[in-house]
């Protein structure tokens, strides 16, 4: 028995090495490409953060409250948004909150831009979805920390590797939900449009996307929440934001800082969730 075990140990399959040499290959050959992404991304994210921080916090809070009122039209929620943002300022995490929010928004935008077309393509091609499904499962089951290592190798330290890791982690949600929405369009609706001579493109824009919209929007919400959870972990590769005080508190065993930063994250999460909730229940298809 121990002979077999010894043999197995001696003949280790160098999976890790293979992966490493793959990334080495990327760095050696495409360093310029990754650097360009890093520089562009950093410029965009930092610029946005700076711009938002340039606005006095109370003005920004009023603007966000206004947005909440516009989106959801309940004064209760707007009041809650207003008070909880004041609470964050009071805790002293306003800058970190803005940094995290910016990262979440950018990550969500990138996820939707890539995820929705992939989801639509998969809904139209069953073979593509059967290829995609194990990949999506993999993306969602690999511990999130693992993404940070290659992201850091390729994009250095800072906001961009955190953004990349976040996108990889969160993109599965919009892909899945877009696929679900588009592939559950009732056949009669498609046939009705076809019977009036709809082209594939018209079918997509006039039937499939409108029908799937509530599901796609659920994908946005999920994507935002997943991004937020990942953005915090992004602090490990040097992304600034609410994750930073958490990591610092962990390393120096500062319970008070941990509690406060954790509370700020919870507040942001609740805010985003409530803001994105759909006002109208989705209409059913029949």
């Amino acid at each position: 028995m121990s002979g077999i075990e010894q043999w197995l140990v001696d003949h280790k399959i160098p999976v890790g090495k293979w992966g490493e040499s793959f990334f080495d290959f990327l760095i050696d050959n495409f360093a310029g490409f990754f650097d360009a992404i890093t520089d562009g991304g950093t410029f965009l994210i930092d610029g946005t953060v700076d711009m938002l921080l340039f606005v006095p916090s109370i003005v920004l809070i009023i603007m966000i409250t206004g947005l909440a009122q516009y989106l959801q039209r309940t004064w209760k929620l707007s009041l809650f948004v207003f008070l909880s943002l004041l609470f964050i300022v009071n805790l002293g995490y306003w800058t970190e909150t803005i940094e995290s929010l910016v990262l979440v928004v950018y990550a969500t935008v990138v996820c939707m831009i890539t995820g929705v077309p992939i989801g639509i393509a998969a809904a139209h091609r069953p073979w593509l979805y059967s290829l995609l499904r194990p990949v999506l499962d993999l993306l969602q089951t690999i511990p999130t920390f693992v993404y940070l290592i290659p992201a850091m190798t390729l994009f250095g330290l800072g906001m961009v590797p955190a953004l990349v890791a976040t996108v990889i982690f969160a993109v599965a949600a919009p892909v899945r939900l877009t696929h679900l929405g588009v592939s559950s369009v009732p056949k009669p609706l498609i046939e009705a449009a076809e019977s009036f001579g709809a082209t594939k493109k018209q079918l997509l824009w006039k039937v499939e996307i409108p029908y799937a919209l509530p599901t796609i929007m659920a994908g946005v919400t999920q994507c935002i929440m997943l991004s937020l959870s990942m953005v915090v972990i992004g602090a490990l590769v040097g992304a600034s934001g609410l994750g930073k005080p958490v990591v610092r508190a962990l390393n120096s065993r500062q319970i008070d800082m941990g509690i406060e930063a954790g509370l700020a994250i919870v507040v942001v999460a609740i805010l985003l969730d409530r803001l994105c909730k759909q006002r109208n229940a989705p209409v059913d298809g029949a």
Partner: protein
């Protein structure tokens, strides 16, 4: 002029069509083909010619292939073999083999469709739904609105144009479906069990509305139904389908009087004959009536007697040899209220059994049938009873 023609249409679903086609030719049943090849036979050797302005009803039980055949007309189902010719101006286009561009043209301009489950887009208002076909054609909004408004008026839903489809009742939703189909002004209308999802009263109402609209529109309608009463009421021609094959094709009365096989007889047994049977097939012809000298005796009690002139027209009708009854000629546009009291009525042999019973009941006298002024027969109590009994004897035979 032919509007739609099916020429030896076979429709087979499944991957193994090469193997299935010879079995279809050999006349194998759907079950045999499924077992051997894994293919489902939709339609086998379907041939019908539908003239312009006709309402052709494809009728049969579920799974008989009627919807499959209908959906071949606008290419929703692919034809495995054969031709489906659809009129486009002076040409007949074979939609089974035409290219995508032609098919799209046919769908946008020539053929429109009404669906069983309405298939309205739930996130659109009624008028946006009606305008769908025009929108897909690329018609600008302002132009579209005028047409939509007019079509909604046609189905009397103009008050509802800004509601969402799901806010309407089933009957109203299907009227929206009708308006949507009318909007593109296609001459050929496909209706796939359009009224089956509605309750009987609404269904009856919509059938009447459709017939009323058709009187002015004169479209060519291919209508799928599983209900013979509906088929007989609406159809100018009926094709009865069983297991993917057309077992009988003809005018409504022909089907009722001469069911081609037991399957058809079963349908006929359960239908209501009143609106279908015409007096020409119920009446006792003049040649079979007894005579009293020159006069013809109408009933078995020798009460009613008719004297004819030299051409065979009704000259004088007497009751019990004493009283002379005034004769009223009942035309197509008369109503029962137009008949004066104590009259005997002459009518066309084309009137339905229902109309004959109404006339018999309203006058209390037998109904004389004359064609171009010549007496051809009579329908009295005896003939009416026989008409009803004949129906129930078909029912007995079918059971």
């Amino acid at each position: 002029m032919t509007a739609v023609e099916f020429k030896n249409v076979d429709i087979v679903f499944g991957d193994n069509q090469q193997e299935a086609i010879p079995m279809v030719d050999a006349g194998k049943t759907r079950e045999e083909i499924l077992e051997k090849t894994g293919c489902v036979l939709g339609v086998a050797d379907g041939s019908i010619k539908i003239e312009e302005g006709e309402i052709c009803v494809l009728m049969g039980l579920s799974g008989s292939g009627k919807s499959t055949l209908l959906r071949a007309v606008n290419g929703l189902n692919k034809v495995t073999r054969g031709e489906v010719l659809v009129r486009d101006g002076d040409d007949l286009v074979d939609v089974a083999s035409c290219d995508a561009k032609t098919l799209r043209h046919m769908r946008m301009e020539r053929v429109s469709m009404v669906f069983q489950q309405f298939a309205l887009l739930p996130w659109r208002t009624v008028s946006e739904n009606v305008g769908l076909g025009l929108e897909l054609k690329g018609m600008p909004k302002a132009e579209r609105e005028a047409i939509v408004e007019q079509k909604l008026k046609m189905v009397s839903l103009d008050q509802w144009k800004d509601k969402y489809a799901h806010e309407l009742s089933g009957g109203m939703q299907q009227r929206v479906g009708l308006a949507r189909a009318f909007a593109t002004d296609a001459d050929i209308l496909l209706m796939d069990e359009p009224f089956s999802a509605l309750d009987p009263l609404i269904r009856d109402h919509l059938q009447d509305e459709l017939l009323e609209l058709q009187r002015n529109l004169k479209k060519t309608i291919v209508f799928v139904s599983h209900d013979l009463d509906e088929a007989l009421k609406i159809g100018t021609h009926i094709a009865i389908m069983e297991g993917g094959r057309i077992v009988q094709y003809g005018e409504p009365e022909e089907i009722v009087l001469n069911p081609a096989n037991e399957y058809v007889a079963e349908f006929v047994a359960h239908m209501n004959p009143l609106n279908v049977l015409r007096c020409a097939s119920l009446m006792t012809p003049v040649s079979d009536l007894r005579k009293d000298g020159e006069r013809i005796i109408l009933d078995k009690y020798d009460a009613f007697k008719v004297a004819l002139d030299s051409k065979g027209a009704v000259q004088k009708v007497t009751f019990e040899d004493k009283e002379e009854l005034p004769v009223f000629s009942f035309g197509a546009d008369h109503s029962l209220d137009d008949i004066p009291d104590c009259n005997i009525v002459t009518a066309s042999p084309e009137i339905t059994m229902k109309r004959a019973i109404e006339l018999r009941q309203s006058t209390g006298n037998p109904v004389l049938l004359s064609e171009e002024g010549v007496l051809v027969g009579v329908v009295g109590d005896e003939e009416i009873y026989q008409g009803i009994l004949r129906q129930s004897s078909i029912a007995d035979a079918a059971e």
